[in-house]
């Protein structure tokens, strides 16, 4: 008992002495530290390799996948939008062309109607003027005959007044000859 007490005291003294120096160099504590260190390292390694690291890797991969998918979806939507814009532009251009076509057709139709109306009008004018000319010619003819009759009557009256026996046929022939010469 006594010897044991003494040894305990001396080791404590020794420990204290070495502790006042550098406890790091106290070789007696090395096995203890190394033992617990190995246990701690193995524990951390198992926790990391079995649970933590695969889980985090999975989460990161999933996030990467989500981001990639979202980007792809965005790209697709953008493409769709571009296509829609193109379709809209095309529809607009078509509508414009159609409108122009309809306008041109309407114009052509109106032009045709107009031409026809002008032609009709021209024809009517020509007809009317022809009729008028005819009537003028008739009137002129009438006038000439009247002049002839008046001239023959007048010539017969003059011949009678001068005392000659007026032969109607001779007077007529003379007047005709005169009129023809006058007309010529």
């Amino acid at each position: 008992m006594a010897t044991q007490d003494i040894t305990v005291v001396t080791t404590e003294d020794l420990a204290h002495e070495s502790a006042s120096g550098m406890p790091q160099l106290n070789v007696e504590t090395f096995p203890n530290q190394i033992f617990w260190l190995l246990i701690a390292l193995v524990a951390i390694y198992y926790i990391l390799s079995r649970i933590a690291l695969p889980r985090i890797a999975a989460v990161l991969a999933e996030r990467q996948g989500t981001i990639t998918n979202d980007l792809a979806a965005a790209e697709e939507l953008k493409l769709k939008a571009t296509e829609a814009e193109k379709a809209y532009d095309k529809a607009l251009a078509d509508a414009r062309a159609e409108a122009q076509r309809i306008a041109a057709e309407a114009k052509a139709e109106i032009q045709g109607d107009l031409d026809k109306a002008i032609a009709d009008a021209d024809a009517e004018i020509a007809e009317r003027s022809a009729e008028s000319e005819k009537r003028i010619a008739e009137i002129r003819e009438g006038a000439m005959q009247s002049v002839e009759i008046v001239a023959k009557d007048t010539a017969e009256a003059i011949v009678a007044a001068l005392g000659g026996a007026a032969d109607a046929a001779t007077v007529n022939a003379a007047v005709d000859a005169r009129l023809k010469r006058g007309a010529a």
């Binding site: 502790a19 120096g21 550098m22 203890n32 530290q33 260190l37 390694y45 990391l48 690291l53 889980r55």
Partner: protein, 249 residues
């Protein structure tokens, strides 16, 4: 230094925070004894679970803040491994992630006042660094056989220089685990010890404001160091892994 401080009325024990002590009772520290190392490593494992497992339980495509943090951490290390080692290195991503998470969490937990910083112990960082060293070396020989030795035979150098370069390369290769482990433990230990020293000075009234300011500043620096050292350890691991995967220069 220590005796001067004690005689001057100070009671500064900047290294006491690194003492490994049993959680229950006051006996010897056997290899199986639950100690403050056990406690803080357990808290570290819990934090990793909290960050990477609890945070991602929603598996949401649009992440919550907590899940974003987990994804950010994952992405950070994943990108690092991919950038440095290429696609074929991603097979070893879980191992590297384990190292990074352990060191990161341990570094940050160590910054909680009265916490125990497991990564400030050379025993811990040496095991980590040696695991990387042996893992990478064995992997190199398994993947490439004797060709892995081409790592030390710089074919782009003149023939006469090659043996000398081979010796240098060989030495630097074996120094890797040393620098790899001491860099981490040393940074953490120094920072924490400095904070403790300044905290000790705060006992004196007229130095106290300065001391508190200094602690604040160093604490901010240590936050940075906690992350950077985890990052450095991890990226060096990636670089060593790259050597094993592509031994030709």
């Amino acid at each position: 230094m220590a005796t001067e401080a004690e005689t001057g009325g100070f009671n500064i024990h900047p290294m006491d925070q690194f003492i490994v002590s049993p959680l229950f009772g006051d006996g010897e520290v056997h290899w199986y004894t639950p100690t403050n190392v056990t406690l803080w490593m357990a808290i570290g494992v819990l934090c990793v679970v909290l960050l990477l497992v609890v945070g991602t339980r929603g598996r949401a495509v649009i992440p919550s803040r907590h899940q974003s943090l987990a994804e950010l951490t994952y992405g950070f290390v994943h990108k690092m491994v991919e950038d440095v080692t290429g696609k074929e290195g991603l097979k070893y991503f879980p191992y590297i992630m384990t190292l990074f998470m352990f060191i990161l969490v341990a570094n940050f937990l160590g910054l909680i006042p009265a916490a125990f910083t497991v990564t400030s112990h050379i025993a811990v960082t040496a095991v980590l660094a040696l695991a990387v060293f042996f893992g990478v070396t064995i992997l190199g020989f398994v993947l490439h056989g004797k060709k892995f030795l081409g790592l030390f035979w710089v074919t782009s150098a003149p023939l006469a220089l090659r043996p000398i370069l081979a010796v240098i390369e060989l030495i630097s290769y074996f120094v890797r685990p040393v620098s790899h482990s001491i860099r981490l433990a040393g940074n953490l230990m120094a920072g924490h010890a400095v904070i403790k020293v300044f905290a000790g000075f705060a006992v004196v009234a007229w130095v106290a404001p300065l001391s508190v300011l200094a602690i604040t500043a160093i604490y901010a620096l240590e936050l940075l160091v906690a992350f950077i050292q985890a990052y450095v350890f991890t990226i060096l691991t990636c670089i060593y892994l790259k050597d094993a995967l592509h031994p030709s220069h």
